[in-house]
Amino acid sequence: MTKEKLYKGLADAVVDMDESTVARLSEEAVCNRFDAYETIDMGLAKGMERAGQLFEDEEYFVPELLMCSEALTVGVDILKPHIRRSEREDKHKIVIGVIRGDTHDIGKNLVKLMLSSAGFEVVDLGRDVPTNTFVDRAVEESARIIMISSLMTTTMEGMKEVVSILQERGIRSRFKVVIGGGPVSQGFADKIGADAYSPNANHAVRLANELVREDAREPK
């Protein structure tokens, strides 16, 4: 099987939530000594990207997206040991968490999953996360992006506080702040001075990609 055909097969299998085909094709890639990193990137991750788009288009729903991700994980587990060390670096870090006062984390977990599938290194701070913790951990981890979620109108003010703390410490420009969750909107993001609002998990991945690209272009 040609590389291109195998990559396409892997992507299709992820979209179809077909774990056994993912496993078979991933093994085949290893046998054929296809580059493992490229196989994940051009095959599995492409499939997840398509699944994410289907989710955004409301064709797929949460259960399908999770099953696609399980299929992807099967492939990643097979391919990962074959990735050359030099290729492992270079992952963009994102810290993510549910804001102080709120314990609803199903949405955040979905965003985290999509980001990991897309190749980001995600530091999950969990839920009911104090505003300072977002900033402290982002600094510690040298993350470029801070993602904050909230499902409760009553906790949204905390997001504003994170932005303020970044400003007070004079490090606002080092981070992109992305917010999301049921009651959150673009208008609210503008109001509190967040860099972006994301309405769903797939959009969050696109946004993260754009933000790191912008980041790369900006002079240091």
């Binding site: 409301e58 006062g101 409760m152 009651p183 208008g187």
Partner: protein, 551 residues
């Protein structure tokens, strides 16, 4: 400064440049509903602009209004900033709101009339006793006149009853929309609004005014003297009780979601214009999100007494669930979201005139439906939504995964599947349809309730087929039918044949608290023993929720 004219209301005002139409409306006292709290998602605040108007849409490409609507110069009031003189036509929804179906009755059981307040004439004056202890005196013999009021304070609706404390008879009843909705639609928005002293005062005043309007109408109807009313029971969710009592509700909106109000106590009745000896009684509160309304429901459903396994479910924006097993009770609440209220649904509306309330597909694929008040439907209310989704799942137009299915539908169903702005939708009439997104909203709402039920069953070690009876409480639940609930999987199929609709048990339970003082201590004890579960802390809840999303 730009001038805004509200044509229907015949009001005009000048505003700062950049103010939204919604903000202008609130300043002018024009009521525009905002179920999504003015973030541009739900489309319910749409208004029509006069021809010579200039505004700017903040984010028009994400507007939930269809292209056809935008072309007819409808805009979202919450997203449209005013940058020049505008004429605004706000759809008059007062007729719709007046026709809103509010359920004031709930099932109950027979109990002894033994009120907290009693009276005794000693030949000179009438003594008023509270719990057997004298609390006041009235000249002459007034023993024949002894009344109480019960108010069910719902987030959306208010129901009040005037009760004769001697006979236990309900002598008048009134209901209305909760006017606080004009300031903040849902419970969390209400908490947010009331988190500052001014906001709290505004919402409290708003409730008290509504209370006075309803009670005045009842006194006039029953021809009684308000000074002969001695006790008022406030039954309602925890947030509504906080606001009604003037307590800061903000701790309810933040983890660990603590209620400062325990209930099971009396409050000062100042401002209610009843007897100077009168007081307010609050039934015991279970938790921040399971309020006195559910305690009332627990009482009249006798969950603490009946043998076997009973599930009590109040379906609404927050689904409250109590599971009882031989007197052992667990309770939780689950965030179902506003879909059941017809909100966040493309053609959704409340259960008022013009709402499609039930829907069925016959063997030949013929659609039959009923509309509140008759005629053509103008929208879909929660019960209609569940019926439509349930029926479409049953006939295979919607797959088990919630997606509109391609396939071999019969001709009339095929014709009903068309697209709106490039997305598939099922058309019931040319104007009323449900979209793929609506189905997703319904899945989230029903999945949340189902997952809550499953979590409580696993907590008590109960299997779904061992449940003896399922009580669906609340005004919204009353209009649902068992078939739809099972078809969409809001309830496990093993509940078939066991579902009873018990109505507004917040009201009937509040009445029981008013009429029999023994229930007060008993329910305090029962509530103390309830196992209160925070679903977010339950291991495996996320998986349970995801597994509950399909049909």
């Amino acid at each position: 400064m730009p001038r805004v004219r509200f044509l229907n209301e015949n009001l005009s005002l000048t505003v700062e440049d950049g103010v939204t139409i919604l903000e202008a409306a609130r300043t002018a006292g024009v009521n525009i509903e905002t179920p999504c709290n003015a973030i541009g998602l739900c489309g319910k605040c749409r208004v029509k602009l006069g021809s010579a108007s200039s505004t700017v849409d903040i984010d028009s490409q994400k507007s939930p209004l269809s292209k056809a609507e935008s072309a007819r110069t409808y805009v979202l009031a919450c997203q449209s900033a005013i940058h020049g003189d505008v004429d605004v036509l706000v759809e008059d929804r007062s007729a719709e709101n007046r026709s809103l179906r509010i359920l004031s009755e709930g099932s109950s059981f027979s109990y002894e009339v033994k009120p907290f307040i009693t009276k005794r004439f000693n030949g000179h004056v009438t003594e008023i006793l509270g719990g057997g202890i004298p609390i006041g005196e009235e000249d002459g013999d007034t023993t024949e006149e002894c009344y109480g009021v019960v108010v069910d304070i719902g987030t959306t609706t208010l129901v009040a009853s005037l009760i004769d404390l001697k006979t236990g008879e309900e002598i008048a009843t009134e209901s209305m929309l909760n006017p606080q909705s004009a300031y903040a639609q849902d419970v969390l928005a209400r908490i947010n609004f009331a988190s500052c002293p001014d906001g709290l005062a505004t919402l409290r005043r708003c409730f008290i005014e509504a209370y006075l309007t309803m009670s005045k109408a009842m006194y006039e109807h029953a021809v009684i003297d308000p000074m002969r009313v001695y006790e008022v029971v406030f039954s309602g969710n925890t947030t509504m009780l906080h606001i009604a009592c003037g307590l800061d509700p903000s701790p309810l909106g933040r983890y660990p979601y603590i209620s400062k109000l325990g209930g099971g106590e009396h409050m000062n009745a100042e401002g209610l214009h009843i007897s100077p000896f009168g007081r307010i009684y609050l039934p015991p509160v279970i938790s921040a999100f399971v309020g006195a309304d559910i305690t009332s429901g627990t009482l009249v459903s006798r969950l603490d007494e009946i043998e076997g396994i009973t599930a009590f479910i109040d379906v609404g924006t927050n689904g409250e669930i109590v599971l009882a097993r031989d007197g052992v009770l667990s309770a939780t609440s689950t965030a179902a979201g506003p879909a059941f209220e017809g909100m966040n649904i493309a053609r959704g509306m409340r259960a008022a005139r013009g709402a499609l309330e039930s829907f069925a597909i016959g063997a030949d694929g013929e659609i039959s439906c009923s509309v509140i008040g008759g005629g053509e439907p103008i929208g879909i209310c929660g019960s209609g939504l569940l019926d439509v989704v349930g029926e479409l799942v049953r006939v295979g137009v919607i797959g088990k995964n919630g997606r509109f299915a391609e396939g071999h539908h019969n001709e009339s169903l095929k014709k009903a599947l068309r697209s709106v702005d490039g997305k598939r939708a099922f058309f019931i009439t040319d104007e009323v349809y449900i979209t793929q997104r609506d189905i997703r909203q319904a899945q989230l709402a029903k999945g949340a309730v189902r997952a809550g039920v499953e979590a409580l069953m696993s907590r008590l070690g109960v299997s779904d087929d061992s449940v003896d009876r399922v009580l669906i409480a609340g005004s919204f639940g009353y209009h649902l039918n068992e078939r739809s609930l099972l078809e969409i999987g809001l309830l496990p199929s093993a509940f078939a044949g066991k579902v009873l609709f018990v109505g507004n048990t917040s009201q009937s339970g509040g009445t029981a608290f008013l009429l029999n003082t023994d229930f007060r201590e008993r329910m305090k004890d029962v509530v103390g023993r309830i196992d209160k579960i925070e679903l977010a802390n339950e291991p495996g809840f996320e998986k349970l929720f995801v597994n509950s999303l399909g049909f």
